[in-house]
Symmetry: C2
Subunit: 369 residues, 2 copies
Amino acid sequence: MSKTPADKADKQATLTEARTRIDSIDQQLQSLISERARWAQQVGRAKGPLKAAVEYYRPEREAQVLRGVIDRNDGPLPNAELVRLFREIMSSCLSQQQPLKIGFLGPEGTFSEQAVRKHFGHAAYGLPLGSIEEVFQEVAAGNADFGVVPVENSGQGMIQMTLDMFLVSKATICGEVELRVHQNLLSLSGELKDVKRVYSHPQSLQQCQGWLRVNLPHVERIPVSSNAEAARTARLSPESAAIAGETAGRVYGLKTVAGPIEDRSDNTTRFLVIGRSIFPPSGNDRTSLLVSVRDKPGALYDVLSPLAHHGISMNRIESRPAHTGKWQYAFFIDVSGHVEDAALQAALEEMKPAAADVRVLGSYPVALP
Amino acid sequence: MSKTPADKADKQATLTEARTRIDSIDQQLQSLISERARWAQQVGRAKGPLKAAVEYYRPEREAQVLRGVIDRNDGPLPNAELVRLFREIMSSCLSQQQPLKIGFLGPEGTFSEQAVRKHFGHAAYGLPLGSIEEVFQEVAAGNADFGVVPVENSGQGMIQMTLDMFLVSKATICGEVELRVHQNLLSLSGELKDVKRVYSHPQSLQQCQGWLRVNLPHVERIPVSSNAEAARTARLSPESAAIAGETAGRVYGLKTVAGPIEDRSDNTTRFLVIGRSIFPPSGNDRTSLLVSVRDKPGALYDVLSPLAHHGISMNRIESRPAHTGKWQYAFFIDVSGHVEDAALQAALEEMKPAAADVRVLGSYPVALP
């Protein structure tokens, strides 16, 4: 279809207008961002001479700002994209003097680093460390302001190493980050009947084994080093398919045969932000408790019933053998609400006589998209 | 120093005012960002139904927007930080339908991925590939919209593999990205006399060998897998030092013994953005030429003199044996200006008789901070 000169003139007018508007918007955006940075400095000065960012970091305030962004959003950008931009703006404003230092399980480029960036933005310093234990140590020693550690993979349950570190460390929990990954079966043709081989990372193959058993019982499963590698390989032959995320499919030009195909539909990795203090309520918080009980009949029931009495909902519970003595168990319990809430305070008081120890690991804003 | 109640009330008033102002700024920022995204859609609609981001991507326009940001900036945020935020905002606006797909030398987390993110923001899809050759192939095949390949490390010169790919590929150059790294000698005490061992990545040790020979002639140099690893090791003993970037020093709590200590003061890695077309001028551009000459006396002089005649400054020249025939050489030449500039067009016309071939690889905005 050929364009008339009038079409072309219209198009040019729209383009010119759009660019003029965008230029004016950019100028306003810039002066607002700079003004925001100046006010962030004011907040700092109110607390004395400028110090490291950790002195000014208020996760409860950030969570409120971001919830406000989501509440107000009526498009066209999706919530996650707007939240990302505001996190970056806050990250820049906070980092004007000495940026936050965030320890994580390295090397760089891992899932853990993605969680650091999602939560703290790119103006923070990432401090790649060799082990989860080291992340706890560096936070305790003050070499890192915060640490980010994986605590739960919905496919594989709690990450014991992280839980166990709380038994021996004084770290607090200051936040949670969720990274969600869906698995898809991807191939050149997008037809299930063509698939003779399935490539993927061993962990992803495991996450989808139920689906594979039912839908592709006789095909070969070939483990490779990453899902991206699997998608690249699947492009080379119409008989090959890959299990990988949606992004990999788009990136590598494959069609979706089926998806999501993970056996548990909530395939999310959850990370904890660890620190050295507990922050005030944000209005939508979660509290993590570490409760030790003696191994006697009914002990767990006695410990948990105050939560039910006070109408506090329990999100997670995980038991671990405590290292502190024979016949003791430790329970990691996540509940809704903040430790400053009256109901939770009352429940905690009632739990104490029944437990050998009740420790509040932290109260922190519920993860945002 | 204890605070009086009046101090505290003042501080609280400032905090409250700052937060109220920031809340109002955030609301304005959000409505401007959303409006910007809507206008970006308008630009798209002017070109017909919404297509992939590559249809709307205008590097010359982005460069103009970012230069405007730098020109207007009077703090408090540094230019690089504001440019980063605007790149992310443009990245989000551009990615509303199908984000740009950017091929790079993987795996994720490498220097090349940093260059991708610096140039295209985090809303683009990164496509990690196995080799520089593969980046060129995927761009040629249309599986990637653009590719990012390293072309020059100031310590080690041009990266031949990348240059050679232009001899056999039709790729164009659509942009350049510079990542600057300074090396410092870091240790616990910050005193040169304490240093008995220096840890660093072999490449960094090489980049600083002149300085080491003069200042630390008898200390042991120990190569390790990364500069971050070196900084971590240096923390363990007061007799150890690391060569690493400033960030690593801050992150790992080391003092700067000396820096920058690299033998060449412009320790920068330069990347090229490759694509399939040449974009219009941005107002501050560079043009890359690939010129083949016959191996005869004065040939190179004859080819270059038109540039001088027309007052065009040459930024780089690098010769490579051409694969197209015996006794031929290819020269990669970077000059200031855009191929649409009258002076450069005239110079190119005059070069043709003296050269076996003159190919414009691309004209693109000069790298921003």
